[in-house]
């Protein structure tokens, strides 16, 4: 068992940093939000999706989340139909440095099924 674990850790791939993560996002500003998917951009060099989040005051805010490239997501188990407009999702992310409502997603959990998908983002995998 331990051998298998080590093998997998060794297999962990290098980080894909398409654009400089640090130029745009702040790893020290984690974010976890739940909301409804309003728009998807399944495009290179990074996919984006936009989520409407209702605050405690009832005010609705739109957040934009960056993920990896379509190819990166596909290799991480996504299809372009994994998340659809109208889906309720919980997103873990790192906020944009500029304070805008943008963030770099790490994981997306589909609330209805509980399935968690990894965002193939430009952040490193854990445990390195």
């Amino acid at each position: 068992m331990i051998g298998a674990v080590l093998a997998l850790l060794v297999m962990a791939a290098p980080v894909l940093a398409h654009h400089s993560f640090a130029a745009e996002f702040d790893a020290s500003k984690p974010l976890k939000l739940t909301g409804t998917v309003k728009k998807l951009e399944w495009t290179n060099p990074h996919t984006w999706f936009f989520v409407e989040v209702k605050g405690e005051d009832g005010k609705v805010t739109t957040w934009g989340f960056e993920m990896g490239s379509p190819n990166g997501l596909m290799r991480a188990g996504w299809t372009r139909n994994s998340m659809k407009v109208g889906d309720l999702v919980t997103v873990e992310a790192s906020r944009a440095k500029d304070g805008s409502n943008n963030a770099n997603a790490k994981t997306v959990t589909l609330v209805n099924t509980g399935q968690t998908l990894f965002a193939a983002s430009s952040q490193p995998e854990a445990g390195r």
Binding site: M11, P14, V15, A22, G72, Q123, P124
Partner: protein, 301 residues
């Protein structure tokens, strides 16, 4: 242990889903074991004229130390399933005692004994690039990212070898590189005009393909020119590269890269990049510029 089990589950899920998402192509004619897996340790293929055949799809097999720039992103393994899986899962190779120091994607000279000694010009330029978070990295801007970043970028690349020409097709930023093996000589440095990929000619020394490159666009050409790594270790328009490619077994490609650039480095240096055959999978179309908003978002355009 719980985290480890989750990691295994993730890896297993990725393996399964990958085959489900991209048409699986079982390449004929490859050496396989009883389970149909390609035997990475089988003998290297050869072309009809007896040369080693480097043709195939390849992924980088070395690992970087975790870069300091990303130190703020903490591991959450202890709390469960928060590993972020990126790009193909690549199995590394056993250490090669005859290998030059391994190149690293983030900072190419990390493993050189004593570090890579930069000239004041190069050191100053690298600091300036890092001070703005490598935002001008050609990789970040859908531009050709230079020989070493292309060799190490996690996305796969396809080598197509013909007798007189070798082409490397990079999934990353849709790059294309030509290496002429028809016996021509390198043009003089400075003629023709410099190119993103430079001008490359290759020759065989035994089972090693030796590729020389000059006429590269150095850092003088623009902010995204002359990058060796993510941190922006530069090369100048004086730079020449020598790459020595070997395929010692079926599933391994070794590339020793020597960079000579007196404007940037006190002396030439050599690093190794190992790649593993990506059997039965392929690079996938990736048109980088279809929705490139990075520069707009960070307000430099």
């Amino acid at each position: 242990m719980k985290a480890a089990i989750i990691l295994i589950a993730i890896a297993a899920a990725c393996t399964v889903s990958l085959s489900a998402q991209w048409p699986k192509y079982v390449e004929p004619g490859l050496p396989r074991d009883n389970q149909g897996q390609v035997r990475m340790d089988a003998a290297s293929p050869r072309t009809p004229d007896g040369k080693p055949d480097l043709t195939g799809d390849w992924v980088r097999a070395d690992r970087d130390p975790r870069p300091a720039e990303l130190a703020g992103i903490t591991t959450e393994q202890g709390r469960g399933s928060r590993a972020v899986v990126v790009e193909p899962q690549v199995q590394g190779f056993a250490a090669d005692p005859n290998s030059p120091p391994l190149a690293t994607f983030w900072d190419i000279g990390t493993n050189l004994p004593g570090g890579l000694v930069l000239t004041p010009w190069a050191d100053d330029l690298k600091k300036k690039r890092m001070a703005i978070d490598s935002r001008e990295n050609p990789d970040a801007n859908c531009l050709p990212m230079g020989i070493t970043q292309f060799h190490m970028q996690p996305q796969p690349r396809k080598i197509v070898q013909t007798p007189n020409l070798i082409v490397i097709l990079y999934e990353a930023n849709y790059g294309t590189r030509y290496i002429y093996t028809d016996g021509r000589k390198l043009p003089p440095q400075g003629e023709p005009q410099p190119w993103w990929y430079g001008y490359s000619v290759g020759r065989w020394e035994g089972d090693t393909l030796v590729v020389e490159t000059n006429n590269l666009r150095g850092a003088e050409s623009g902010p995204s020119d002359g990058w060796l790594d993510v941190r922006g270790t530069p090369y100048s328009d004086q730079a020449t590269f020598v790459e020595r490619f070997r395929r010692p077994v079926f599933g391994k490609l070794e590339i020793n890269v020597t960079v000579t650039d007196p404007k940037s480095f006190a002396k030439p240096f050599t690093v190794r990049i190992n790649q593993r055959l990506l059997a039965d999978e392929e690079p996938i179309e990736a048109v980088c510029n279809e929705n490139q908003q990075f520069r707009v978002r960070i307000k430099i355009d």
